[in-house]
Amino acid sequence: MSIITLLSKSQAPITTRSFYAQETASPIISSIAHVPELLLKGMPFIGQALGASSVSLRMKEMMILRASTKLHCSYCTNTHTVVCIQAGLTHNEILALRGEKEVDEVFTEAKEKLLIAWTDAMSNGGNPISTSLKEQMIQHYSEAEIVEFSLCIGATIMLNRYASALSLPVDPDHLRILNKQGFSIVS
């Protein structure tokens, strides 16, 4: 149960209504709507950082699900398990990202494994990231990609803490999809 009111479209400030496709919107939107100026500036950033861009949706969702798992954010883990399904990740890939299978057993591409290692390193509290991992990233990815990855992971961690602190509820439709697809619901 969210600790703050999730505003429906008719309750939400007029300046935020364009973010509502229906009478309800995601808990992230319907909570930030309490501060319209934050939603107006923040959502375009969040959409750009987390949505498909020059980096594929598959890669973005890999990072988001992995970071959310590491941060123990039940809202983001459950929600992005569903988005990963929609983005075409396999059952085993999703389990591996959720820490329920070994990454090395499921992912075979070196570049993807490196991306997961980068996500793990960034999601590991304040611990420093090793020089060798940084060097590998520079070798395998462009500077623009490293920026996009790192901001995607950083923005995810921000939302993980936000969603956990406010106890944002998972969409019941998403819970049904998780059940149907044989994924456990993270609490």
Binding site: L7, A12, P13, I14, T15, H34, V35, P36, E37
Partner: protein
Amino acid sequence: MSKRLWFYTNYHCNLACTYCLTESSPSVPKRIFQPEEMISIAKQASELGFESIGITGGEPFLIPTLVDTLHSILDILPVTLLTNGTLFHKKRIEELRSLAGRDLRMQISLDYATPQENDAMRARGNFEKVIQAIPLLLDIPLHIRVASTIDQHTSQEEDALNKLVHKLGIPKKDHIVRKIIHRGRAQSQGLGINASIEELMPELTLTVDGAFWSPFAPTYKDGRLQKDLLISNTIQPLSAPVDILLSFIAQIPYQANEHTAGFV
């Protein structure tokens, strides 16, 4: 967008009218807008091209320093001040003399021509206090207007009210009649007309809770702020809510009617 900027000085009131948009009463949280902040924002308003300031509440005259604040704001822009007209005791009238000749319009609520009808939705003794105060204020002299907020007037009630207002020395142009708006306590009581955003003139309105679409917007219902017409929680710098409002206005096909065209 209107060139008048509104402030809600406070939310508490010595009355508790049945149709009050803000659920004001003596016991609600006061939510006082700090005078220094109002003055600072009024300066910004003038620089941004606003041409006047509106002040409402709650009852603004419950703020002891109101007259000093009015002087400071009047040094910057003309002011329209809304009051229930019930707190004009002798000492207050003396204090108000200092405002003579300043660019101030004071607007007093009076809904019906008899105490029984007028006080039914406001408070006992309200009618008497108002009709005693108006001549004293006109004598100062101050520019006084009368605002009548009504659900439904019969033509007899309307005639009687017009006669009374005329007798009090208020010209027709300074008598405003408007319908109750279906928000706040009026909504809880099933009173008033609906006013959609398309009908409410955009008049930026600041309260301690944030910046709102119009003075009809920062309403309270069941003790909770109605946020549907909130523009931003940020009120300073004033350019922040102004920018959001201006960029949003273009999307609204605004069509005012006679009751929603402005707060006065």
